[in-house]
């Protein structure tokens, strides 16, 4: 009788870890095709519609890039907290608070010039998002509250707060009762790059990612983050300010998600309304894991998951599959990638059992 045994790898995998990732994504695509088949839809045709919808035209690729912006920023934030092994799954709520902060600035100072207003909106989004991230950190440090539960619960509070504002205080009197704020003044809208549909938020993302990469690679504080995330006991031994690091990580984590909310409200929707919440904060978690927390890889992974969203929208139109299909695929990708993580640590070996 042959049987399969797992053994722990002594050396970490090099290039073949990329193969494992590709295999995981392929497996989840295969499962999705099967799901389409069970639904009575063409399986391979569906997958090809998915791809052509996302990459088939310049317009589609632009759409992918635009959707990648909020995912990218949220994911950068999430990855900072994950580096310290703080499980922040509250990017969604921090995103909402950022949008609220930016909207507050835009509605309060409609007359201000763009070079004053946009930075003010960015600062407001940074602070509110960061504060929303800092609360769970303080609760964790002082009351040992589990940050997973707290950040998750605070997402619901944040969304309700956003609803309260757009249904109430900030509601546009001219909106015929729809829950939305008035449109932002032109000075409060992040503009488009040249003649493309892309907005300058994309540049913000790339610069932020580069800064985070430099921060982790070349600064002392970045090193302290990495060491503390690696081994909490060793960080105490080495006199690292662990508590301060946790606070800073959650502050930055929330702040970047807040920026995503700012850009989405300003550049994409031009106002605040409930439909701004489409789950980018949760997708960001998938992205962070796919990219193994590397800020530059996160850019690529955000683009791919944004492409999945765009592709599924296309699939929805062409094949009448339910909207939830996109969520299912995203979930399957995360599951297969996490399961693939097993093969990064372990190898398999066939053995003849006695």
């Amino acid at each position: 009788m042959l049987s399969i045994h797992a053994y722990k790898r002594q050396e970490p995998l090099q290039w073949s870890s990329g193969l494992i990732l590709l295999g995981a994504v392929a497996l989840s695509l295969g499962a999705s095709a099967l799901l389409l088949k069970l639904h009575g839809k063409p399986a391979l045709g569906g997958i090809s519609i998915l791809f052509s919808g996302a990459f088939g035209s310049l317009w589609a690729i632009e759409d992918c890039l635009i959707k990648a912006i909020p995912i990218f920023l949220c994911s950068l934030g999430v990855a900072i907290a994950f580096r310290l092994q703080i499980w922040n799954i509250g990017a969604e709520g921090q995103f909402a608070l950022g949008a609220i902060g930016a909207t507050w600035a835009a509605l309060s100072f409609p007359e201000m010039a763009w070079y004053g207003l946009l930075p003010l909106m960015a600062v407001a989004a940074f602070l509110l998002g960061g504060l929303w991230g800092l609360i769970p950190a303080l609760l964790k440090l002082h009351m040992r509250a589990n940050e997973i539960i707290v950040t998750l619960m605070m997402n619901y509070i944040a969304i309700l707060l956003l609803d309260y504002l757009v249904y109430g205080r900030w509601k546009d009197p001219l909106s015929f009762g729809f829950p939305m704020t008035p449109e932002f003044s032109p000075a409060a809208i992040v503009g488009k790059i040249g003649t493309t549909n892309l907005n300058w938020g994309l540049v913000v993302c790339l610069v932020t990612a580069l800064m985070i990469w430099v921060f982790f690679r070349y600064t002392r504080l970045g090193f302290e983050f990495q060491a503390a995330g690696e081994n909490v006991r060793a960080s105490r031994y080495a006199g690292l300010p662990y508590r301060r690091l946790v606070c800073l990580a959650m502050l930055l984590s929330g702040a970047f998600a807040g920026w995503a909310g700012f850009l989405e409200a300003s550049a994409t929707i031009n106002r605040l309304q409930p439909s701004i919440m489409v789950g980018y904060g949760y997708t960001a978690i998938v992205v962070a894991w796919l990219a193994r927390l590397n800020p530059l890889t996160i850019g690529l992974a955000s683009f791919l998951l944004a492409a999945l969203r765009v592709g599924v929208e296309n699939l929805q139109l062409d094949l009448q599959v339910p909207a939830a299909f996109g969520g299912i695929m995203e979930g399957m990708i995360l599951l297969t990638v996490l399961a693939g993580g097993f093969f990064m640590e372990y190898g398999l070996r066939l053995r003849r059992s006695p």
Binding site: T219, N231, R236, Y237
Partner: protein
């Protein structure tokens, strides 16, 4: 098989990890109805031996005999088949399940199960050995003592004949320990062979029928308990006296005071007074678990002092650790080099930076390249093998990792060094190197050497302090041969 044949016996078992000989030619017999204690310091080879018995490791040499027959344990399954069961320090229970479910877990049985019948079976078994437990209770709701009873019942249910307990009282209250001993005696009376692993002398003396002492991987004594007259004798055997290595040590003039502890006390420490000067090594000896760990943690800033004062380099504990400079200060070489002193997945350079990062900082930037060059230099100077700064810490052997930690801590040019079991698990050559390094560091630093190895303390120390039950029993000069002769007694608790 005669009535006298041991259930299990070990013949000439040896096991080496690289150059470290964890077990050397060990022969022991475990008989039905007897409680046998295995006594030894951390690193004496107890856990290696137990892993061999449990089938997790295969010996390099020697045999295991079950009921007088040769048998090879290729896996844990083979050991279980031979009737060997272990109760580990960390319980292997499913917290969310009931006592009964835990006991039946993994036990082959019919497809359809009958919970109430199972519970009755467990209750019956528990009554037979008078281990009081509610079969329906959830494991998460049980005390440590009760959880341990579940572990024992698990083994009994599988008809194990040899029960091995690894430091079973470490997690128990005194009353629970008493109850455990009662249960162990009863189990022995029912014909089980009990193996009791511990470094607590009192318990071993109170419980055992036979006592075997391990020291540096070898059995140094194996006898009936009534042949042993005092705890001091056991303590002496445990820490050993033979000096394998000789290092040159000349007398230095003790200078500035770097550590001063007065009246330090908390739940584990009692009224500690200690003083250390530059130019001397103070050997702190005692059986492990008598307060050395909390004392070291307090000195090194991991634990806030309770009563009394702790002053380092003339500064108060609080202000010292608030300001802490990276160099010219305190260096701590902990016993746990993998879990505490290093990050296993980070490179050697990053591990160098762990405590010296302030020395490589310019503004917000960290000068990695400079640190890497320094690490290369240290690797050459301290004989760290392989001398590759980009290797991860986990890729180094124990001895080389220890040299890496020492190199890093010495590079900080400390004036106070706390070295905890610095040569544990190292081979002779590495031990000698570490000793020389410590003696050299004495030129500019005061060294607190915490060790369970008396030979090491005697070879290196200028003064010795003996710890027992959270207090320092006595402090004396290393030349005081009369006091040195009484160290064993002091470690067992008698006054100086």
């Amino acid at each position: 098989m005669t009535a006298d044949t041991p259930l299990i016996s070990l013949e000439g078992i040896s096991k080496a990890f690289g150059a470290v000989r964890a077990n050397q030619d060990i022969s022991l017999a475990f008989r039905a109805g007897r409680i046998k204690s295995l006594l030894g310091e951390n690193g004496a080879g107890k856990s290696t031996l137990m892993s061999i018995l449990a089938g997790r490791l295969q010996p390099d040499q020697g045999h295991i005999l079950v009921d007088g027959q040769h048998q090879v344990f290729r896996s844990t399954q083979d050991a279980i088949g031979a009737g060997i069961g272990m109760v580990y320090q960390h319980f292997m229970l499913v917290e969310a399940m009931t006592v009964t479910e835990n006991i039946f877990l993994g036990y082959p049985g019919p497809l359809v199960i009958d919970p109430s019948r199972m519970e009755n079976q467990v209750a019956e078994l528990a009554a037979q050995v008078s281990l009081n437990i509610d079969p329906r209770a959830r494991v998460a709701d049980l005390s440590m003592g009760e959880k341990q009873r579940v572990e024992i019942l698990k083994l009994l249910f599988r008809q194990n004949r040899i029960l091995i307990f690894d430091e079973p009282t470490a997690v128990l209250t005194p009353q629970e320990s008493e109850q455990l001993f009662e249960a162990l005696r009863q189990l022995a009376a029912q014909g089980k062979a009990i193996v009791f692993i511990s470094h607590k002398l009192d318990e071993v003396m109170a419980l055992s029928d036979e006592i075997a002492v391990l020291h540096k991987g070898a059995v140094v004594a194996d006898m009936d308990a009534d042949q042993i007259h005092s705890k001091a004798e056991l303590a002496q055997l445990m820490v050993g006296r033979e000096v394998i290595l000789q290092v040159e040590r000349d007398h230095l003039e003790a200078r500035q005071r770097v550590l001063n502890i007065a009246g330090l006390g908390d739940d584990a420490l009692k009224d500690i007074d200690l003083e250390l000067r530059q130019g001397e090594i103070l050997g702190l000896v005692g059986v492990a678990g008598n307060g050395q760990k909390p004392l070291v943690e307090t000195i090194c800033g991991l634990k806030r002092p309770g009563r009394g004062t702790v002053r380092l380099m003339g500064q108060d504990w609080g202000s010292f650790f608030q300001r802490r400079r990276w160099d010219g200060n305190l260096a701590y070489i902990p016993e746990d080099r993998q879990g505490l002193a290093t990050c296993r997945n980070l490179s050697l350079t990053d591990n160098l930076l762990l405590t010296t990062r302030r020395g490589f900082t310019v503004g917000p930037w960290l000068r990695h390249r400079q640190a890497e060059a320094k690490m290369e230099e240290l690797a050459a100077q301290f004989n760290i093998n392989p001398p590759n700064p980009s290797l991860a810490a986990r890729q180094l052997s124990g001895g080389n990792l220890q040299k890496m930690v020492i190199a890093r801590e010495f590079f900080r040019r400390p004036r106070l060094i706390v070295a905890e079991q610095p040569t544990q698990g190292l081979d002779i050559a590495a031990t000698e190197e570490v000793w020389r390094l410590l003696l050299k560091a004495r030129d500019r630093a005061g060294i607190l050497l915490v060790t369970g190895d008396l030979a090491e303390a005697l070879a290196l120390s200028d003064r010795l302090a003996v710890m027992f039950d959270g207090r320092i029993v006595d402090t004396f000069a290393a030349e005081d041969s009369e006091k040195i002769g009484r160290i064993g007694l002091m470690m067992a608790g008698s006054s100086p």
